[in-house]
Amino acid sequence: MIEVQSLTKRFGTQAAVADVTFSVRQGEIVGFLGPNGAGKTTTMRVLTGFLPPSEGTARVAGHDIVSDSRRARASLGYLPESAALYPEMRVREYLAYRARLEGLAGQEVGSRVEEIVGLCLLEEVADRKVENLSRGYRQRAALAGSLVHQPPVLILDEPTVGLDPAQIIKIREMIRSLGRERAVLLSTHILPEVDAVCDRVLIIDRGRIVAEGTPEELRRRLTGTPIVRAAFKGEVAAQEALGSLQGVVSAQVSPADGETRIRIECAEGAEVAEDIFRLAVSKGWVLRELSRESLSLEDVFVRLTHHEEASPSAQATAGQPPVETPSGETSAVASAKAEP
């Protein structure tokens, strides 16, 4: 539904987006991930016809964004980063206005507005002025505005920015359900969002796509060999026993007070953890810990977009120096990043 072919956008001599190629299929939610200033918004603005491309082509729902711009624009719903609304309008009025701008007329406008008010859970505030709404409702009203003509393609620029956690969850649920029949491209610099919502991720940095794949693929590709950690009570002679297990590449055993800690490098795709459990049972060892070490998407992201020295985009990543912390969980850093 979205096909982008070697798209380049230059401002003056500087390329904000350089030779970007990707596509989004129907029923797919693709996350556009990158530090601030990486070119996400510029790419989206080109796709929505707000900025003309410098080079390359793109098609939205089969319509070229330059030669058939109007039809391309008609088939997409766009939520700009600013989520700007007209403050003096009431929510219903605003949605009706958006519907008319999209070319709907007569009774269709009213029925579509009611439908979308219900879908976006805006009933409570439908007759309130936009300027009196909370941030969460405003964001939802803006999203509703981009959906009112039932576009097959959705382009959402940072749809959850500035929302509280409960609102974020609601918006994500909405996006997920919208993504079932549509092609959705959403940008974010919030990593858990990608994990929570997206089927596929494009990581963009300094205007170039540096990685692409499902969140798991990206993690796997960058972790290299999977690592399993185990800890047994007391001192056990684990070295040889483990060495004989299938799929174990190497095992590091380090005795620590009252424990034997083991770090095992496994062959790609091997399910070593279960074998270790069975081994422990058969030997009568007391298993205290058994875990798989995996990179969070955040680590993947930091690795890909971490530039030497304090380059502007690396600083922009989180407003703090990038730290490489391998962990399976969403760390505190990630939630700190959720703040705009």
Partner: protein, 246 residues
């Protein structure tokens, strides 16, 4: 067309949500109240030529001060406001053309301008109940207002496409209008007949007096309509060109 009308309606209504609009309406009504009082005063003198009373509505200093100052203020928000708030992104990524956007906004502003003038029709009605009034010159006078309002608002629309800052847009428009207006006024200072006639073509003050006397000269229609079209055309170019920049 449907989209164009949606834009017109929104722009027109948007004025009534802004306090500035009410200030303009109030100032306008005070000004015209003053003029109405002047007209009544004029009629009070026993041998006043009664036919010349109503044209005073269109040929007084207040009229020009109002149009030169207030039209830029009416037009300043058209594009500058949306550019500042970011809603321009919604508008220009909707399936509407730049021409529809410019014309829609212009028509909305012209609608507001005419809404301001609408109450003055009451003066015509009141005076008509007292003295005989020839409706021809009155109609021509109002036609002049529509033409002049359109012309000035097209300049204001263009100024508004040039900046994000509404105040800057208003000052730009004011500067352009003063330049246009004073070019025509030079007519009285020039004695060379050729130049005199040329400047007369731009003499808005004289044009309004002509309209108020009931004279609708085709040359004036051509001038106002083509100048309006020219500035609207510039606005479309400006909106399109500014898409190049973020």
């Amino acid at each position: 067309m449907r989209r164009f009308l949606a834009i017109v309606a929104r722009e027109w209504r948007a004025y009534f949500f802004s306090p500035l609009a009410y200030v303009i309406v109030a100032a306008f009504l005070v000004m015209n109240g003053q003029i109405f009082w002047a007209i009544v005063n004029f009629l009070n003198s026993p041998n006043a030529p009664k036919g010349q009373a109503l044209p005073l509505l269109f040929t007084n200093y207040y009229f020009w001060i109002f149009n030169l100052f207030v039209v830029p203020i009416i037009a300043m928000r058209l594009f500058a406001e949306e550019r500042k708030s970011g809603t321009i992104e919604i508008l220009l990524t909707s399936p509407v053309t730049e021409t529809e956007v410019v014309l829609g906004k212009f028509a909305g502003a012209l609608g507001f301008f005419l809404t301001l003038w609408a109450p003055t029709l009451i003066y015509v009605w009141i005076l008509r109940s007292q003295i005989p009034i020839d409706l021809g010159p009155v109609g021509a006078g109002y036609l002049g207002i529509v033409l002049l309002g359109g012309y000035f608002l097209s300049v204001g629309t263009f100024a508004s496409t040039l900046t994000k800052n509404q105040i800057v847009a208003a000052i730009l428009a004011f500067g352009m209008l003063i330049a246009i207006f004073s070019t025509g006024l030079l007519e009285s200072m020039i004695t060379d007949p050729g130049k005199h006639d040329l400047l007369g073509y731009f003499n808005l003050w004289d044009h309004m007096e002509e309209f108020a006397r009931g004279i609708v000269d085709t040359r004036r229609l051509v001038y106002y309509l083509s100048a309006t079209a020219f500035f609207l055309f510039l606005s479309v170019i400006s909106v399109t060109a500014r898409k190049e920049r973020p």
